[in-house]
């Protein structure tokens, strides 16, 4: 079995279904930022607190892509998921073959393999249509 490595450091924690995306909230202006930065991009303040973003959200929009990408064979789905905090996350969408996508539908965060790389399995966040309205 291959070792799993995150596709980028610092974006999420937990490699199973208990993890979450790591954002930051600016204590000065309230802006939520994902991924985290050293300073708030909205007010340029430095007083940020690390937060775990919600694990569910709504499908703001989606597309089925019929072009190859660096890591994904077509067709694959990607979309924007709007979290209750108001932040939108761009993500691979999984499970769309089983359940037709619709804007506004409930989505849940999962951590899954994104692609293979030599000896490693690169893992990251994906969203899937959620069963019974939540994750």
């Amino acid at each position: 079995m291959k070792t799993g490595v995150p596709f980028r450091e610092g974006l999420f924690q937990g490699s199973d279904e208990k993890g979450s995306l790591l954002g930051a909230r600016c204590r000065q202006c309230g802006q939520i930022i994902f991924p985290r930065r050293e300073a708030c991009l909205n007010c340029l303040g430095n007083d940020l607190e690390l937060i775990q973003l919600s694990r569910k959200g709504k499908l703001y929009s989606y597309t089925i892509v019929h072009m190859p990408s660096e890591h994904f064979e077509p067709p694959y789905a990607v979309g924007w998921i709007e979290l209750p905090e108001g932040v939108k996350i761009f993500s691979q969408i999984r499970g769309w073959q089983e359940r037709p996508l619709e804007t506004g539908m409930d989505m849940a965060l999962h951590f899954e393999k994104l692609w293979d790389e030599e000896e490693k399995e690169v893992v990251g966040y994906v969203f899937r249509p959620s069963t019974n309205g939540g994750a």
Binding site: F7, R8, L11, Q31, I32, I33, P35, L41, N42, Y60, S61, Y62, T63, I64, V65, H66, M67, P68, S69, E70, H71, F72, Y76, V78, G79, W80, V87, K88, F90, S91, Q92, E102, T103, G104, L114, G124
Partner: protein
């Protein structure tokens, strides 16, 4: 600050030219603009050359080919906004009194570039790119939301492509000169759903050029100077400030600044070239440029307001959809089309009595920004 006029424009035919080197395309457009202006190449005091894929100091190769050396020459990159950026910079060098005559060239040769036939891979480290984002997907996501929220059909969006390809048939510089039907467009190969192939601009090689002087010297060169009434260039704002992905805040703010600078409003615009990289962009830009309120854009199109003969013909050149989209050249090519319109030289596609014209380009993907850059120019005679 001095008023600035355009006294000459030129363009190559747009298309796929594997045998033409980038600097040859640029030189062809520059020669055409020089001839149009009735000047000698040696008159030029400065040059800007916008380009993305042609490599190091391409502007020097373009200018060297036609006898222009030893001047202030700057190569510009600003993605789809590169050509408009070159015009903006040339405008300011004249307006501010630095120089009295100069040229803005935009040139792109995708076919001979290292990108030819390749996927534009995301910049290393671009998170959304690594997760499967690309240029078409970015707009497909906007279009899906747009269709679902505002009840717009694919057939309605396809009408933009029908109109622009019809216009392209009348433009000798257009890459495509073939009418398309709604059915052909809707049923063409899906690229990123709901965007199909014929809702996308093609990959294009070509170049365009414009020659600028102070308005008070323009009479020396031409009886038909075209004045630059406004020139605005802005970099993109953060996507987290972007309430609604179906409306370009960047275009809206940029257009408002341009109207203010020109002392004109959207109601004054007689002809417009806007950034129809994908068919649905044109509908959204109607709203952002102030041609109608939200929710009225499809009606504007369907009632022929933006068609030839309508109140504000849009993309008479065929737009990016039909004329083609030679990335860094597009902003200058729009200016060329509008100068021809304002001079009454646009042939079959002439907008009768056009006095005020608007050019709009936007583009460049950066994770976290709505887009890289946007530019609006307003021209008048």
């Amino acid at each position: 600050m001095r008023d600035v006029a355009i006294i000459g424009v030129g363009s190559t035919v747009m298309g796929k030219f594997p045998e033409s080197l980038p600097y040859e395309l640029g030189a062809e457009a520059a020669r055409a603009a020089i001839q149009d202006a009735g000047i000698s190449p040696g008159d030029l005091q400065f040059a800007y050359c916008a380009n993305l894929y042609g490599g190091m100091v391409i502007g020097q190769a373009v200018m060297g080919e036609i006898g222009i050396t030893d001047i202030e020459l700057t190569n510009i990159e600003n993605a789809c906004t590169g050509g408009a950026t070159a015009v903006r910079k040339a405008w300011w060098d004249i307006a501010s009194g630095l120089y009295d005559i100069g040229i803005a060239v935009g040139v792109e040769s995708i076919t001979t570039s290292p990108m030819a036939g390749k996927l534009i891979t995301p910049a290393k480290g671009d998170i959304t790119g690594e997760l499967g984002m690309n240029m078409v997907a970015r707009f497909a996501l906007s279009q899906r939301r747009y269709m679902d929220m505002f009840n717009i059909s694919l057939e309605q969006i396809a009408q933009v492509s029908v109109k622009n390809h019809r216009n392209g048939c009348m433009n000798p510089y257009s890459q495509y000169r073939k009418e398309l039907t709604i059915e052909e467009i809707v049923n063409s190969r899906p690229i990123c759903e709901p965007i199909t192939l014929l809702q996308c601009c093609p990959s294009t090689d070509g170049a365009a050029a414009a020659i600028l002087v102070p308005l008070d010297l323009a009479g020396k060169y031409t009886s038909q100077p075209v004045t630059i009434a406004a020139s605005v260039l802005k970099s993109g704002d953060y996507a987290f400030r972007w309430e609604d992905m179906t409306f370009s805040d960047m275009t809206s703010k940029c257009a408002n600044s341009a109207y203010e600078m020109a002392g004109l409003g959207p109601e004054d615009v007689d002809v417009c070239e806007l950034h129809d990289a994908f068919a649905m962009n044109e509908l959204q830009h109607y709203v952002e440029l102030g041609f109608c309120k939200r929710g009225e854009e499809v009606r504007l199109l369907e009632e022929g307001v933006t068609d030839l003969g309508g109140k504000i013909p849009v993309n008479t050149s065929g737009g990016l959809l039909s004329k083609g989209h030679p990335v860094s050249a597009s902003g200058v090519a729009q200016i060329a089309e509008l100068v021809w319109q304002l001079r009454g030289q646009a042939g079959e596609r002439q907008v009768a009595g056009a006095k005020v014209a608007l050019a709009h380009v936007i583009g460049g993907e950066v994770t976290g920004l709505e887009s890289g850059a946007v530019a609006v120019h307003i021209l008048k005679r």
